[in-house]
Amino acid sequence: MNASVITKAVLEQHKLSEEEYKKILEILGREPNWTELGMFSAMWSEHCSYKSSRIHLKKLPTTGPRVVQGPGENAGVVDIGDGLCAVFKMESHNHPSFIEPYQGAATGVGGILRDIFTMGARPIALLNSLRFGGLDNANTRHLLKGVVSGIAGYGNCMGVPTVGGEIVFNDIYALNPLVNVFCLGIAKRDKIFLGKAAGVGNPVIYFGSKTGRDGIHGATMASDSFDEEAAQKRPTVQVGDPFTEKLLLEACLELMSGDCLVGIQDMGAAGLTSSACEMASREGTGVELDLAQVPRREPGMTPYEVMLSESQERMLMVATAGREDEVIKICRKWDLDVAVIGRVTDTGKVVLTENGQVVAEVPAKALADEGPRYDRPSAPPAYQDMLQALNYDALPDVKDANAALLALLDSPTIASKRWVYEQYDHMVRTNTMVRPGSDAAVLRVKGTNKALALSVDCNARYCLLNPYEGAKIAIAECARNLACSGAEPIGVTDCLNFGNPQRPEVMWQFLLAIEGLKDACEAMNVPIVSGNVSFYNETNDLSIYPTPMIGMVGLIEPADRAVTQWFKQNGDAIILLGNTREDLGGTEYLKVLHHREQGSPPLLNLDTEKAVQACTIHLIREGLVQSAHDCSDGGLAVALAECCISGSGERLGAMVQLSLDGLRRDALLFGESQSRILLSVKPHQEERVLSLAKEAAVPAAKIGTVGGNRLVVQVAGDQRIAGCTVDQELTALHEQWARAIPRALGQD
């Protein structure tokens, strides 16, 4: 290829700056050819190189006594005892899902599953965090349906249950939805596989689907903002085939049960380019690949296309020399394409040949690890003060608490997500002890007396209003969800969704969020073992709210101690742990009832949070708790309603008395003060629970009793205004909450 082809326009197409191009010239000591330019473009994209985030991510706590593998591999690994490990990670597939919701979401699931089984783990659970615009928008309804069926189509076919997740609807995501997928697998402690090309002379083997022309430059597309032309990027979205992936999964695990495998990595973003150079770079070796051996879907593909294709369901492995036949036999058993395409070398280079000609020769480390690093400028947005300023005096207090509660239960963000999770197989593999619809999903670990609790969470509105506090709350709330099932957090994965990092205000949000995550993880003593950054979530110059999504894994032992959020028995005492303050800023109540997304997010004291969670876990392990539920979106009134109506069995009402203690009525009922958990306990254990809470210095008070077919919440000292009492039949509350999403979709 004539070097003069590389013009400014070509660099622009490849999203490489002139500065970055100069660095490529330095590394190679010559001009790159077309294939090499494409490889640099993909590997140095934001998506693959983390060039804007890498220096900041180093601040996060990533170590701990349980950590077997921290960030940098395909997934994080945490020891759970009994010779087993939990292997997990969360990843985004936002951009493809906006362009083509079904395939975008489906291949997101496919990608995260490969990350997990590549490590030697059998995937046992999927969760997802989704963000969409309002459901009054026809395109949003199309996106929601497409994304949900894409996740279902892929996960169900794979036989990996989708056991939970969360969805928030907010207009800010209308043109930039978020699809974040979390996967957890279980591996034997002594059978963890890494993506390394070790052993000079060992064969490099390609297996899985054939390589086609789909998804070329997917990584680069995912590192760019969107405009009206987004639909034209559809060819960069890959098409998933869960059936082939299922075969790939079983073939991988069969290969891993033997001893012929040296290293393995899936071909995700940047396809063969990333797997080849990352595997070599990690081990300090090189690889030489003969592209003519790569199984192809169609003839005439150029080296550029072969190296940058993001065709799905493909793997690259290094096996022990001389054991090629064993590998090939297992792949053929599962009807997969397989080919020895090269060897490990000691040159430190990725050398590509085709028909005896060298078509590319690039140092592996330069591609994988020596990409640009930016410490981009940051500054608070001009509107930040306005966002945080909220004059409560100008805000009328709630006049009709019943109506406000019903409006909140009708908000799709709060409403039941049954329409979604019934489309996901959430029981296959028969581990699901707590199904979707409680604070956390709980899965037993077969062969042990343990269970794992899983939760994903992030309140992005809090993060918009105060990125530091918002990120802290995301960690705290996720851990609180786990605590409500009786689980102690053991590891975190994150998926940091932000706007364009070249905007100082986005970088400001990012930096503060990292600080918040760091402080909260350190305080809660839980390491971040894997993660993903998704920048450029902006369309037509409008950035999404900063959305640092958190996935957290907790351990329950013994497994049968796990509890759920709904009330269990008439006569049980309802106890509230934690204090209620005047925390109205950034609440769902303000958004739904007053159409404002303003104020300061609730104050979080990490010491109080830790004490409340530790106390809850202790009470649950002592067998003193019938149900436990986190107070979050919609505050105490919504949490109480959920305790009454979210169970699948008989619905139980409650009679609750609260006292105002100088608070606004709306803050008392719908404020989102942190570090609060609603418990129900058997009447004869009420005293014991209250005294244990007192010993632990955790504020606790009995606020009511379970029973009847109504939810009644009276506010003492405020009887003069009838409107501030909640008094609703459970059937009315349930109807409102359960049917809200089908109603909004016109399917009621």
């Binding site: 189509g153 076919c157 085939d241 059936f243 299922k246 075969l247 599962w334 037993r444």
Partner: protein
């Protein structure tokens, strides 16, 4: 007892079936790869749920051509116990071992949830641990569970008491509202005329352990084991 669990490419409830018989019920289990044949010594054959061949073309339509199916048919024709769950049921229909076909759910969506089924016939080799009319809570998880057949066949299987399970309310009423997928006559499970081949859409292997909060499915597996322990009931 030794149970053979057939593994098609795309089967995904094979391990769950293995776990129930081996780890929960203490029986021997042999996993049978679809490209192979049945080895002697198997007492019953299970076709598990999943997406054999990715459900491409039509559920079960390709799996019926898997090499192992010749042996499965021969096993069934000799009177051996064969049970198909979900995709296994779909394969039995496509293979002609049971009458009828599966259509897409009327909602067009995949549905995963607990349903109630009524035991219409408790005098079978798969339900002898149940009471007649007993209501079982068992989960379903499928996109194509809308059973259909022609009126003559339907009349025949009803007259012959081959309808084993029907979708019902918690109280045991067989109503249209209790039908999750639109299946003809609320049919959730049927057997062949000889009574040795059963197909059912609900997943009993997902509700046969205390830790999962529901043991209704255990009754079906215990019934099978009971049948196998009393050889006069089977004619292998």
């Amino acid at each position: 007892m030794k149970i053979g669990v057939v593994v098609f490419p795309g089967s995904n409830c094979d391990h769950d079936c293995q776990y129930i018989f081996q780890d929960v019920l203490g029986q021997k289990v042999e996993m049978v790869w679809h490209k192979e044949t049945l080895r002697p010594g198997l007492d019953a054959i299970l076709l598990p749920g999943g997406f054999s061949y990715g459900d491409y073309l039509r559920t079960g339509a390709i799996a019926r051509f898997s090499p192992v199916m010749t042996a499965v048919k021969a096993f069934a024709n000799k009177g051996g116990l064969v049970m198909g769950i979900c995709n296994g049921f779909q394969i039995l229909l496509e293979a002609g071992l049971l009458p009828g076909v599966m259509l897409r759910n009327t909602s067009l969506n995949f549905i995963c949830k607990d349903v109630f089924v009524k035991v219409e016939n408790a005098a079978t080799r798969f339900t002898n641990h149940c009471e007649s009319g007993q209501v079982l809570k068992i989960p379903i998880a499928h996109a194509d569970g809308n059973y259909y057949t022609d009126p003559v066949t339907l009349g025949g299987i009803k007259a012959n008491a081959q309808v084993v399970f029907r979708y019902c309310t918690a109280e045991g009423k067989v109503t249209p509202e209790a039908n999750p997928n639109g299946s003809l006559d609320n049919i959730a499970g049927i057997m062949n005329a000889e009574g040795n081949v059963l197909g059912m859409m609900p997943h009993p292997e997902r509700c046969a352990e205390t830790v999962l909060g529901n043991e209704a499915g255990r009754l079906i597996f215990l019934s099978m084991l009971e049948t196998l322990h009393k050889p006069q009931l089977t004619v292998v």
